[in-house]
């Protein structure tokens, strides 16, 4: 896994020149982090730019400006400031910083307090912030998710952890009807600034019930935002942005990505919740992916580059709403799209994304969109079978070759 990641880092640093001509040069201030633009800047799809001039966004602008400034200095100087950490530590850092910054932020979930979190994302937070801010709940997802939403209605900012996203199926009613809809049905009186997060996805032989991909079940719920993190950098940034957002955000993490290592900046930064990340610019084909499949794609990309292809890899990150701006620009450039996802074929994120791209960019496509997803089966326990349910790099290579004929 570390080897794959090194490849990603290298590819990212190589791609310093703005290959995406639609993004104004202003935003490409730093080679590596060029696409985490300040969230206060609104880039409309016609290329015009609006700066949100209220004080909150000015603060946000100052935040990210620091990060990019430091990064450019980092690029210029030989020493590398910033610190190295694992993805779960990045999540914890983001959470801790937000809890320090805003006393209304609290965490509730199973084993998050004294135990330190089953994936160590909340390790030592209970010792630091106390039992009222890092709450160990009984195993009662429906009610503690409901309680988080009720607390959010009054202005608290709870972060609800599902030990595994699959367990949140028990809280589906609360997430769909209360979390998603209360802002609308109350005519705007209540905002629900809650973050619901947890690991999901296919792990290592965890069995069918612990390998679920809930993003496909939640994607229709109106009123929520969904993001999926894939690197320590965007994990911390998305966690912070999600906590600060006034909307309910579901942050999807992946069980197998918690031990990814990366060097991230020391200063405060957040990532835009609705934005996709350009992992590797290219010319021949657009590969859209998210979460763990990003690494399978990058592995396949190495093989593809050797074979002479130039794939453009975009980590869509924002699962609801889709960043059709970045995606559209890429489609207009390459005219071929391959979606690689971990959701199941039927009704997954890939299915929605295919529909969205076809609806909006059909004229720019030279070939039908290809979508590689997991098989429509419960994830089996046996290792070999499990491997076959999920998309593997070899399949991605074959798909690109097919697409580019």
């Amino acid at each position: 896994m570390a080897a794959i990641f090194q490849g990603v880092g290298a590819a990212a640093t190589l791609s310093s020149s703005p290959s995406n001509s639609f993004v104004p040069k202003k935003f490409l201030t730093s080679p590596r982090r060029s696409f985490c633009v300040p969230s206060s800047v609104v880039v409309r799809s016609d290329g015009s730019v609006n700066f949100d001039l209220n004080s909150k966004s000015r603060r946000a602008q100052q935040l990210v400006a620091n990060a990019t400034k430091a990064d450019s200095s980092a690029a210029s100087s030989s020493s590398n400031p910033g610190h190295e950490l694992l993805l779960f530590e990045a999540l914890r850092e983001g959470l801790e910083e937000e809890m320090e910054r805003d006393p209304c932020v609290c965490v509730m979930g199973e084993d998050v307090g004294h135990y330190g979190g089953s994936y160590k994302v909340t390790k030592d937070l209970a010792k630091k912030f106390g039992d009222l801010r890092v709450l160990d709940t009984p195993i009662a997802e429906n009610s503690f998710t409901g309680m988080g939403i009720g607390a959010a209605m009054t202005g608290l900012r709870p972060v609800v952890e599902g030990m595994n996203m699959g367990f949140l199926l028990l809280a589906f009613n609360q997430i769909s009807n209360n979390c998603g809809m209360l802002h609308y049905t109350s005519g705007g009186q209540f905002t629900i600034p809650i973050v619901i997060r947890g690991p999901g996805g296919v792990g290592r032989q965890l069995g069918a019930e612990h390998s679920q991909r809930l993003e496909s079940y939640f994607q229709s719920i109106p009123g929520i935002q969904m993001v999926a993190c894939s690197t320590p950098y965007n994990a911390k940034g998305l966690m912070k942005a999600a906590i600060r957002s006034e909307n309910p955000v579901i942050l999807f993490e992946h069980v197998l990505l918690y031990n990814l290592k990366e060097r991230i900046p020391d200063e405060d930064y957040i990532c835009n919740l609705e934005e996709a990340e350009m992992v590797r610019p290219g010319e021949h084909v657009t590969i859209l992916t998210y979460s763990r499949m990003r690494y399978h794609v990058m592995q396949a990309a190495k093989t593809l580059v050797n074979k002479g292809y130039d794939p453009e890899v975009i980590d869509i990150r924002s699962l609801k709403p889709f960043d059709l701006y970045t995606i559209g620009n890429s489609v207009k450039k390459t005219h071929r799209v391959l979606i690689v996802e971990e959701c199941m074929r039927t009704g997954g994120i890939g299915a929605s994304l295919t529909a969205a791209i076809t609806e909006n960019f059909n004229d720019y496509l030279d070939a039908p969109i290809m979508c590689l997803s997991s098989q429509d089966v419960p994830t089996p326990y046996a290792g070999t079978l499990e491997e076959w349910t999920v998309v593997q790099p070899a399949q991605i290579v074959t798909a690109v070759e097919q697409l580019c004929q």
Binding site: P38, S39, S40, V42, V43, R44, S45, D52, K56, S57, A60, C106, L132, L135, T137, P138, A140, N142, S143, F144, T145, G146, M147, G148, I149, G150, A151, A152, M153, T154, L156, N173, Q174, N177, L182, H183, Y184, T185, S186, G187, G188, Q189, F190, T191, P193, G223, Q225, A241, R244, S245, E246, N247, N272, L273, E274, P321, L324, Y325, A356, N360
Partner: protein
């Protein structure tokens, strides 16, 4: 136009009323009299795991008349909603609260607007009790802009944030964990207030209720769970749905109190007691023994699972408004005529509000897309194509 005739006639009758009420005030000031009176509740409280409060409730003429007026207003409002529904001006689901007014009114008398109330879909009167206006009620029921949720919520989604009324929920039982979350937020901010989470006898069998109760008891939250037991969960009688219909005992380790929900003073006493208890000792369950005259909703005649004799029997013996009327008359706090005048006044208020609500326009088409997401801290959400979607329907 009929409307203008009504208005002019009402101004005439208002002129007539004024001298009468001033004459009344010369005789004895009733509406602002706060000399305490002690009245016994209809039945004693039964308690579970705690000491029941006393049967003697302290009140005063002003409060009793406020009870009468508020309950008459709520009753009139619900009957008017019934007619509006039959006239197809209110669509969808409409769950009426007439018969249960004492719970809303008694609760308000015991608490402040800092305390939170959350309830299920039978929320029209609770909303009015929290300070909602009749215009907001009728406009929301008819789906107009002047409604409390801008016409986008409907009968089951009334909310009033500034007086801590959290709704208004359609899914049975889902409001109880929300209510415990409100209590958690109150404990977190240390503001010495409590949350009343109301639910029905049907919702009392929901698992999430017991989950939330467990967490509330564990974390000592100031949550008061109030079961408005009108003995029928939709069309199923309580003895057919619950093995143990003693809902005040269902909390097991959580103390409970059974209250006559048709007696506004008993409700007031119980809520006062519960508030003191919750602030010190954590959650408590109140079971309000009440009754609804209408069916479960407007689509339910309400007579297939209960006899008309039962309904009329309760109306004769336990009606909350009649009880207060008898109290007022027996303590000589107002004359029969004055009470009738109040009822007429209330009826007019309701009619005026309906007329005003009918004039309110339907929501603009762009309102379809507003309030789906909140904009804040630059984390704006654009919709699928990164443009702000504003539909203009032809």
């Amino acid at each position: 136009m009929a409307l203008s005739y009504l208005r002019s006639s009402s101004s005439r009758s208002a002129n007539l009323l004024r001298p009468l009420s001033s004459a009344a005030s010369l005789r004895r000031p009733i509406s602002t009299d706060t000399t305490p009176i002690t009245i016994e509740t209809s039945v004693p409280f039964t308690s579970h795991q705690c000491e029941a409060p006393s049967r003697s409730v302290e009140t005063n003429p002003s409060e009793l008349l406020t009870f009468f007026r508020d309950m008459a207003l709520m009753r009139r409002m619900e009957i008017a909603a019934d007619s509006l529904y039959k006239a197809k001006l209110i669509r969808g689901f409409c769950h009426l609260y007439d018969g249960q007014e004492a719970v809303a009114v008694g609760m308000e008398a015991a608490i402040t607007k800092k305390d939170c109330i959350i309830t299920a879909y039978r929320d029209h009167c609770t909303f009015v009790g929290r300070g909602g206006t009749l215009l907001e009620v009728f406009a929301e029921l008819m789906g107009r802009q002047a409604g409390c949720s801008k016409g986008k919520g409907g009968s089951m989604h009334f909310y009033k944030k500034d007086s801590n009324f959290y709704g208004g929920h359609g899914i049975v039982g889902a409001q109880v964990p929300l209510g415990c979350g409100l209590a958690f937020a109150q404990k977190y901010s240390k503001d010495e207030s409590v949350t009343f989470a109301l639910y029905g006898d049907g919702a009392a069998n929901q698992g999430q209720l017991f989950e939330a109760l467990n967490i509330s008891a564990l974390w000592d939250l100031p949550a008061i769970l109030v079961c408005e037991n009108n003995h029928y969960g939709m069309g199923t009688a309580e003895w057919r749905a619950a093995k143990s219909p003693a809902y005040y005992k269902r909390g097991d380790y959580v103390p409970g109190l059974k209250v006559d929900g048709m007696d506004a003073l008993a409700v007031k006493q119980a809520c006062k007691f519960a508030k003191e208890h919750a602030l010190k000792n954590g959650p408590i369950i109140l079971e309000m023994d009440t009754y609804r005259y209408h069916g479960h909703s407007m689509s339910d005649p309400g007579s297939t699972y209960r006899t008309r004799d039962e309904i009329s029997g309760i109306r004769q013996e336990r009606d909350p408004i009649e009880r207060v009327r008898k109290l007022v008359l027996s303590h000589d706090l107002a004359t029969e005529k004055e009470l009738k005048d109040i009822e007429k006044e209330v009826r007019k208020e309701v009619d005026d509000a309906i007329a005003q609500a009918k004039e309110s326009p339907m929501p603009e088409p762009s309102e379809l897309f507003s309030n789906v997401y909140a904009k804040g801290l630059g984390a704006e959400s654009f919709g699928a194509d990164r443009k702000e979607v504003r539909a203009t329907l032809a």
